[in-house]
Amino acid sequence: MATLFHPPLTAFPTSNKLHLPSPISARKGQIFVVRSDAGMNHLLSRGAHQSRTQKLLTNAVATKPDSSTSSKAGHELLLFEALREGLEEEMERDPRVCVMGEDVGHYGGSYKVTKGLAPKFGDLRVLDTPIAENAFTGMGIGAAMTGLRPIVEGMNMGFLLLAFNQISNNCGMLHYTSGGQFKIPIVIRGPGGVGRQLGAEHSQRLESYFQSIPGIQMVACSTPYNAKGLMKAAIRSENPVILFEHVLLYNLKERIPDEEYVLSLEEAEMVRPGEHVTILTYSRMRYHVMQAAKTLVNKGYDPEVIDIRSLKPFDLHTIGNSVKKTHRVLIVEECMRTGGIGASLTAAITENFNDYLDAPIICLSSQDVPTPYAGTLEEWTVVQPTQIVAAVEQLCQ
């Protein structure tokens, strides 16, 4: 099926590569699964920087260069392009994969994750829906039950609150209540998190709401590399997967392999190995942590930074090994303090690794407030690098 869509390789000059990734057929037989510690984070330091986040990121990256991937050249792209590349490859690979959501088709998605897909795959495979989250999410679930593999985009994660019933009752429960007869291989994804003064409703972190729904798997991407790998893994999973993206990370640039790769949905990513304290984080807070890590290293600390990525279930294997090594845990999240991912993570670590802890776990979360509009207030709502430094100093006293 995929070959139908392939123009000859020569049709893709290198300058176009970002927008029209080289076809899968050119990479056949090169699929490989990369473990998280074989990432290409060092490459993040290359390329132009357009935002504050980008600068933080560049300064913060402290991992060693990696030489283990089979990719020599790779290609550089932004996070939203990486997501699109993953999407496009999966749509080429499997004609049952389709996208639905508000403005995903002709407009290309509000963050351009689906740009160019509608002209290529047609209006049915990249379906522009009316503004009716409840109904089109339910429709995606019905389509998934009957053989398709839809990716539903919430234009903003917060809008998915309107589809909460469908996500909870149907997405999460149907496989179980039907006694295993029906599978719901759906991916629900979209931009969330605190952006730049987007106001309370557009700055939501729904992972805490979704985490207790049985039967739903949750994963958060944070780099172009893991965004693509997790997108592909989510599409291939037979489970309903919610893929969390962050509004402020879409323009992160990174060089990623040309070869096809798929990541494990259940695996945490070792961002920076260290000895003194385990810092668990995910999504955008990874960059606040890495900025703090730079300060901490200068102060003589050697923190271990883990991007947990899998928000449900937790990769307690990676987390546990780190706790056994450092005996101290700091959790940094953008989620709400009450009932958040950090709270669940704290509970899981206390339950499983209490004997290894030398100090109580510290969990830094967002304040329990609706995200304010004013820039100063918004900044105080989410965890800042100085707080992370202070928390590590306290933990390591």
């Binding site: 004609p95 109904a135 179980y176 007869q181």
Partner: protein, 431 residues
């Protein structure tokens, strides 16, 4: 039959909008304005009980009095059904009725628990629609779903056993009364919240269209039936899905089983314009009102709506005006509904009406119908015995179907997927 898209398209706004609702005119989706009758009022009003007596007259007269039905009769044949069809319908309705009666008995005997919503009185809708489907067609139901599952072909044993909470139930005891699924029969489930099944049904219809147009599966002509009640028609998902289904011409039929009541809330007290079928034309699809106590009328409307969907001409909204003979659920004392109203509808029992039609037209003898009833009795006795003797789900089953892809259970402390842990299938692993 005039609700084709082509006839309908030129003046969508005027269609149906002034056509009154009348039980004498089951095919009131006619777009002929000369048939308007402004004096007609909504059937569900208890103040209009007098009108009902006129409706209860013998079918032959009722049909003769309606020009639309006359045309219909001439178009097909003198009889609406063959003998075989008649007996099949009768058997299905008896199965539905007797099954639900058996449920009540078993509930009061403590064999099943929870909320059990019975379908008594509404059989003409399930039978009238679902018996026209092919096995590949999809059915999406509500919390009142036992009979839809039975009509679609799920065995009495599997449904009864599910209600008993046994491992041999159609959902291994994990669904229960309000969540009946059968992949084999494309029964996409009972949905326990109002309206949530409609988007899922719309998705199934989208799948059919996708398979045909994107995957080029020539035989992908499945039709989806979405069943729901009058209360759902005040819910946003209903409107959202009517819009999407009409927009993309999805092969779906929206079947409203208007039984006039929520639990204790009358449809008339809940809905600004109680004529639900009128909402179809507003979305660019035919809206049809049919007597939901008359399986033959339901069947005729269903036939056209299903064929229309299969032809790729898009969705239809069918309002079947029906009545439930029991309370909302077995836990409902049913004290609010007027005894006179209940008595009136009891007199319009759809099974009695079909029986009468079969006799009047010499399609079946008393003996044949008795034989069917006896057969169903035996099937249900067997189903109860089967359910009673079936094993309870073992503990190891508890965690088995949370995730379809067991890798979703994550990586255990030993670095292996938890699903590979032998304790996992024993149900003792912590998740």
């Amino acid at each position: 039959m005039s609700f084709t898209a082509t006839k309908f398209a030129p003046s969508p706004l005027s269609l149906n909008s002034t056509t009154p609702r009348s039980n004498d005119k089951p095919l009131s989706f006619s777009f002929d304005h000369s048939k308007t009758n402004p004096s007609s009022s909504f059937l569900g009003s208890t103040r209009k009980l007098l009108r009902f007596t006129a409706l209860a007259k013998p079918r032959a007269q009722a049909r003769a009095s309606t020009p639309v039905a006359d045309v219909l009769l001439q178009q097909t044949s003198n009889l609406l059904i063959t003998k075989e069809e008649g007996l099949e319908l009768y058997e299905d309705m008896i199965l539905g009725r007797f099954f639900e009666d058996k449920c009540a008995e078993m509930y009061y005997r403590g064999k099943m628990f929870g909320f059990v919503h019975l379908y008594n009185g509404q059989e003409a809708v399930s039978t009238g629609f679902i018996k026209l489907l092919k096995k590949e067609d999809y059915v999406v139901s509500t919390y009142r779903d036992h009979v839809h599952a039975l009509s679609k072909g799920v065995s009495s044993r599997a449904v009864m056993s599910e209600l008993f909470g046994k491992a041999t139930g159609c959902c291994r005891g994990q669904g229960g009364s309000m969540h009946m699924f059968s992949k084999e029969h494309n029964m996409l489930g009972g949905f326990a919240f109002i309206g949530e099944g409609i988007p899922v049904a719309t998705g199934a219809a989208f799948s059919s269209k996708y398979r045909k147009e994107v995957l080029n599966e020539a035989d992908a002509d499945q039709v989806t039936l979405a069943f729901f009640g009058d209360g759902t028609c005040n819910n946003g998902q209903f409107y959202e899905c009517l819009n999407m289904a009409a927009l993309w011409k999805l092969p779906i039929v929206f079947v409203v089983e208007n039984n006039l009541w929520a639990i204790g809330m009358s449809h008339l007290r809940a809905t600004s314009d109680p004529q639900i079928w009128k909402k179809g034309p507003a979305f660019g699809m035919p809206g049809i009102h049919v007597d939901g106590m008359d399986v033959l009328k339901v069947r005729e409307v269903a036939k056209e709506a299903i064929e229309r969907a299969r032809r790729g001409e898009g969705p239809t909204l069918v309002e079947c005006e029906t009545y439930r003979f029991r309370g909302h659920s077995l836990a409902d004392p049913d004290e609010l509904r007027d005894p006179a109203e209940k008595e009136h509808y009891a007199g319009r029992d759809p099974i009695t009406a079909l029986k009468q039609y079969l006799f009047e037209n010499n399609l079946a003898s008393e003996q044949e119908l008795k034989a069917i009833e006896k057969k169903i009795d035996e099937i249900l006795d067997d189903a109860v015995e089967f359910a009673d003797n079936s094993p309870l789900p073992p503990r190891s089953q508890l965690l088995e179907n949370v995730f379809a892809d067991p890798k979703g259970f994550g990586i255990g402390p030993d670095g292996r997927y938890r699903c590979e842990d032998p304790k996992f299938t024993e149900g003792t692993a912590q998740v």
